[in-house]
Symmetry: C2
Subunit: 242 residues, 2 copies
DNA sequence: CGAGGGTTTGATGATAGTCAAAGTGAGTGG
DNA sequence: CCACTCACTTTGACTATCATCAAACCCTCG
């Protein structure tokens, strides 16, 4: 039983922008199916020209790049609503790999329909550009923390950002969100070693700022955590959903 | 004497994709003027909603973000042909600042015309998305080197990338390109201290791989430099010009 | 109960940051 | 034309953050 766009659970959330009836229909026509995968399953591979694009519907995952020497850089976490494969759709080649961390389900779109979809609605074309620009914005922020913040600030920054995103998606319940990643994932996201990441997390715990335990993340003092990160808190605005 | 798009010196270069007559005219209509600035002039500021977008026509500059504590992350260098202000155009707010390093001239576009421009030509809309996706791709690469490579590899990677870009633009003459930046700029781009950057550059020089001197960059052994960077060399493909 | 994946902790060392000062060269003013 | 300044680069000495190595611990699972 494939979810119809009309009854898409994500679309109802206030975090996602409303669509006109027309946009909804066009999106529905674009959607070619659904994909459900187990934890650890690779969805897209760096350097390949995937025949399909996806929108994460349920579950969490991550984007990453690997260097020839084997080291891995996690580019971003994947949350419900994320559009995946834009680079393949536009450039013909992915710049990073994508894999599922939890069990996940995706809406599937055919790359061969992508250009039509883009052409048939200026609004949707604009939405896609919006998503690309937002991702660019975010990557600039990430680059800045990896380049300029020390381990403690970097982790604080990452936890705040992640928590805010989850909150906007309604995934936070009494100060706690599901966080199914490994410490190694966070280490690879921030350019830190696993050991150092672990010790730095312990410092945040000791300071009563945030606790990441048992696949859940709890933030005790958001303001202080943001202060440690040397970042400004800003409210999130609705984003388009493809 | 404003340069007409028909006689744009960039458009003639093979590095930029051809435009149809129609696209050319639409672009010409979009263009509202030209801007010429001295070295050090700020063009766009992070967090602001600039009323104008730009395409770099001549000269070099850089994009950067600053943290509250004053540290700076250079996001990318700006070369002729680069489209600037997409984030302001699409998101309504820049995620980074832009400033001129050399004397520069820009084509100027009004943000108020941006949406019309986007709507009036699917091809141009797609080009804009292409640029955003390409920037995202590049930022992923950058994040990976800042996060995973050590200082020597990171610098080697940066020099190779920069040199390739300049080469594609025809800025390389007998193995040498103009490189008007300061060591501090490179340090801020790679998350290194100025001193360490300086010493690492000296190592590359001693190894006869690359020399950056007197505002010019010369690469002596591209293959070996790429090997130090642990990267794969790939040829550059033409990109759209706005 | 043993195995394996992930987390935690301690010890040691290297890469990179900080501090300080000297060197270099272009530009300016007497 | 010669100081003098200023911005940038270079070098040396010292420090610290973070990586590496190694081992123990904790859970879940078969």
């Amino acid at each position: 039983m494939v979810t119809a766009c009309t009854s898409c659970p994500l679309r109802k959330q206030s975090f996602f922008q409303d669509m006109t009836q027309d946009e909804l229909e066009k999106t529905q026509r674009f959607k070619s199916g659904e994909l459900s995968v187990d934890p650890g399953t690779p969805i897209l591979m760096e350097g390949t020209n995937a025949p399909q694009l996806y929108t994460a519907l349920r579950g969490m995952g991550l984007r990453y790049k690997t260097l020839p020497d084997g080291s891995r850089q996690v580019i971003n976490l994947i949350f419900p609503g994320d559009f995946i494969g834009l680079q393949a759709g536009v450039l013909g080649e992915m710049g990073h790999s994508v894999e599922a961390t939890t069990h996940m389900t995706f809406c599937v779109f055919d790359r061969s329909d992508f250009f039509d979809f883009f052409r048939n609605s200026t609004a949707r074309a604009f939405d896609i550009t919006w998503l690309a620009a937002t991702e660019e914005h975010f990557l600039g922020d990430t680059l800045t923390t990896v380049g300029q913040r020390d381990a403690l600030s970097a982790l604080a920054w990452a936890l705040v950002r992640i928590f805010q995103r989850a909150d906007a998606l309604g995934m936070v319940q009494n100060g706690t969100m599901p966080f199914p990643y490994k410490q190694q994932d966070m280490a690879d996201a921030l350019g830190l070693s696993l050991v150092h990441t672990n010790k730095t997390l312990a410092r945040l715990r000791d300071r009563q700022l945030a606790v990441w335990d048992d696949k859940t993340l709890k933030i005790h003092d958001m303001a202080e955590l943001a202060a440690v990160a040397d970042m400004e808190l800003e409210e999130t605005s609705p984003r388009p959903l493809i």
